[in-house]
Symmetry: C2
Subunit: 299 residues, 2 copies
Amino acid sequence: MRTSLDCIPCLIRQALSAARMVTDDSALHASILRKVLHWTARMDLGQPPPVMAQRIHRYLHTIHGENDLYRRTKAHHNRMALKLLPELQEKVTTASDPLETAVRLAIAGNVIDMGVNSEVTENELRQAVNGVLTESFTGELDAFRKALSRAQNILYLADNAGEIVFDRLLIQEMGPERVTLAVRGFPILNDATMADARAAGLHEMVRIIDNGSDAPGTILEQCSEDFNRLFHRVDLIIAKGQGNFETLGDVQHTIFFLFKVKCPVIAHHSGRPLGTHVLLRSDTVCAPGGPEEAPRIPP
Amino acid sequence: MRTSLDCIPCLIRQALSAARMVTDDSALHASILRKVLHWTARMDLGQPPPVMAQRIHRYLHTIHGENDLYRRTKAHHNRMALKLLPELQEKVTTASDPLETAVRLAIAGNVIDMGVNSEVTENELRQAVNGVLTESFTGELDAFRKALSRAQNILYLADNAGEIVFDRLLIQEMGPERVTLAVRGFPILNDATMADARAAGLHEMVRIIDNGSDAPGTILEQCSEDFNRLFHRVDLIIAKGQGNFETLGDVQHTIFFLFKVKCPVIAHHSGRPLGTHVLLRSDTVCAPGGPEEAPRIPP
C-alpha cells in the first residue's frame, strides 16, 4: 500500500521515540527529528510506510554504532512469551478446534509491537490472549482451512520477537515439515531475526531462512534471491503483522495476513475495525488506489 | 513555554486535519503537508507551539481565500453552549459556593477545542459539565479568591467560541464592572473573536477588546499597544485554555490559568495529570527550561 498522509505524524512520533532510545542527548534528538522532517517533506508517498521507517532506523543505527537497538527488549519479549507457552499449548491441545485456537493465538502475539505500541507487559499479553480467544472471530478461516489442505509448501513470514513464540503453535498445527519460516535479514525495530527464532526454539521444529532485508515488512525488491525464489514457488504464504500487510497487500499470491488492526489507516485498508484480530486473504483485500482515498481520520 | 519535540507530530496532525477542512483536493493536502514538514524541520523550538500553528493557519487562509475556516463550527458551538446556559446559570445560583462552581464551569467549557479534539457534541459538553462539577478539584481556589478580593481591574483572556458562553458565568460572579474581556484580533482555529463574544451576549455585560493578533494564544509582542498597556496595568489576569498557558506561562504577572490538560506535554509543564481541570497561579508554574527536560512521553 501507499503511505497515507495520516502515516506521517505517526512516523515522526515513532522516530522521536526511537531517537530517545538511541541517546540521552537532547540536542541530538532535535537534530534527528529535523532530519526526519526533511525526509518526510520529500518522501515518495507511492512507497509503503515501512520504507521510511527503514530509512529512519538505518540512520539511527549509524548514530548509535550498534545496529540492534531493541536487542534487550526483544530478549525480554521472547522470555515473556516462552513463559506463557506451556499454557498456550494446553489451550490448543484441549480446544475443540485446535487450528482455530492456534490461529487466534498467533494473532494475539501480534500485540507485541514496538512500532505502534509502547512496551507490552505480561499482563497485557495475557489480556490479549484472553481477548482473542473469547471475541467473535470474523476471519476467513474456512478459506484458510481449504488453502492449508491443498498446500504442499508454506512460507510463514514472521513479524516480531516474542510474537514469534506464539507462531510455534500455528506452525505445529499446520505441520512443520511443509513450512519454511522467514525472519528479517537484519535487526529493525523489534522485528524477529534469526537470533529470535532460535531463542524461541523454532530452529528445532522448522526450517528457517532470513529474507536478506532490514525493512520492517517484506519489500520483495530488497529481499535476497533465495527468498524471492521461495516466495514465488510456495503454494501458500502466511504473513504476520501490519508491516507485512503494508508491503505485501498488493502482491499477487495466495497470502493470508494475520494481524491486529492497530491504526485507523490499516483499519481502512483492511476494511476491518480498529482493534480487530484479522485473518485476511490477499485476494479479498480492497486495496484503495492511494492515500487520499482514505477516509478522514479524526485528529 | 518552548515547543517540545513531542509537539511536532501533533502540529503536523493538526495541519493535515485543517488542510482537509480547507479543500477536498488530495494533491493539495499533500502539498500543504510537505510545506508544513519543511517549516517544522527548521522551526525555532524556543518559540511556543502556537507560533507554528499561527503560521500554518495563515497559510491555509491564503489557500482558502477566506480567513475564518471555522466560522460555521464556531457558530454551532456558540449556539450549543447558549442552549445550556440557563441550566448552567441555575447551577451557579443554587450552588453552596457559586464562585467555585463558576470557576469549574468556565474550565468545563474548555473541552471545546478544535486544535486538540475533534468536533465536540452536546452530549460530550454535558458530560464535561457533570464531570467538572463532581470531580475533586485541586485548583488554587483560595489564592484565586484572595487575588479577586484585592483586584480592582481584571483582564479576562478568552479562548474558544462556545467556551466563551461559559465564561459569562465566571465574569458575572467576579463582577463584570471591573473586568475587561479580551478576544483574538483575527480568526484562528475556533478561537473566540469579537463576533463570537457578541454572539455569546458578552457585549451586554462586559467591556470587550481584541488583542490585535491572530495567534492561538497570547504572544504579547504581536498584540496591539492598547492590549499591552492594559495587560501590564491590570491587577489580575485570567487566562483560559492551553494556548494562553503555552504563551504566557513564563510571563511575570498575576495570572490564573484555567484549562483542561489535554496533552502529555502540558501535563508535564503544568505539573497536573492529563485530563485534569486546572486553576493554576502563574507563580506556581514549574516552567522547565526547555523541551528536552520533558519526560519521555510513551508513543
